[in-house]
Symmetry: C2
Subunit: 143 residues, 2 copies
């Protein structure tokens, strides 16, 4: 895929899958993001994913557009997790992330959707973060 | 999600995302599978994913059904990679995997779809494998 085709897909995509690692065990979950300035901005409730990425910031994100099993686009992104804490230093970045997400109110809600883990409801305190992109590979299959 | 709801989604799903690890770097790609006997059966051309899983068999698979950003099901599966080599010992398992995949001819083809990496076409020799499931967690969000 050309660089232009990759960036076009990335700019329009909202749903991806985010993989992180603890020790030698990977973990992958769906997440919503917005692409801007070579980064993916997102937020999450505090859970396993955030805890693991705080310890090991190396992540991989997969984004795709599947038309059929013979026709699809898929991006694999290597990147680095950076938290955007609620401090003066990160005020601008955090505001940017918040504004980007507010523009898309419809998908801003899944992290607050009713979810429970092992019967206990989770903390609803949001953690804002971005993934700095270090490498993108694009694959395309056509019939 | 109940155990029954988890298994129902798993039995009908074909597309998932498979995460593996080298060192502390995760890697996640889309893959097609069939669920049987507490395992996910699949195959792939020989590439980075297979090389990494041969070295570290710990994997994570994410399977979902997204209706909208407020309504989705998502399974996160921890498992272990096992290759099904073309030897007498694995003949039965390999035949089972092959037959399962042949039943679904339509999705058996993506691994052979025209793909290229860094301009070079890839080996088309298939590697058959299964993921032994060790743990499944299901999440559901509803509006």
């Amino acid at each position: 895929m050309s660089r232009a085709a990759i960036l076009e897909l990335l700019a329009s995509a909202r749903l991806g899958r985010l993989a992180c690692v603890q020790g030698s065990q990977p973990y992958v979950v769906p997440f919503y993001f917005i692409y801007k300035n070579n980064s993916l901005y997102s937020f999450s409730v505090l859970g396993q994913k955030i805890k693991w990425m705080r310890t090991n910031p190396l992540v991989c994100v997969e984004v795709d557009e599947v038309v059929s099993s013979q026709e699809w686009l898929s991006l694999v992104i290597f990147g680095r997790y950076e938290e955007l804490p609620d401090t003066f230093e990160y005020q601008l970045e955090r505001a940017a992330a918040y504004n980007l997400m507010r523009e898309r109110a419809v998908w801003w809600e899944p992290a607050y959707a009713k979810t429970s883990v092992h019967g206990a409801s989770r903390s609803l305190e949001p953690v804002f973060y971005r993934i700095h992109i270090s490498e993108i590979t694009g694959h395309r299959a056509s019939p």
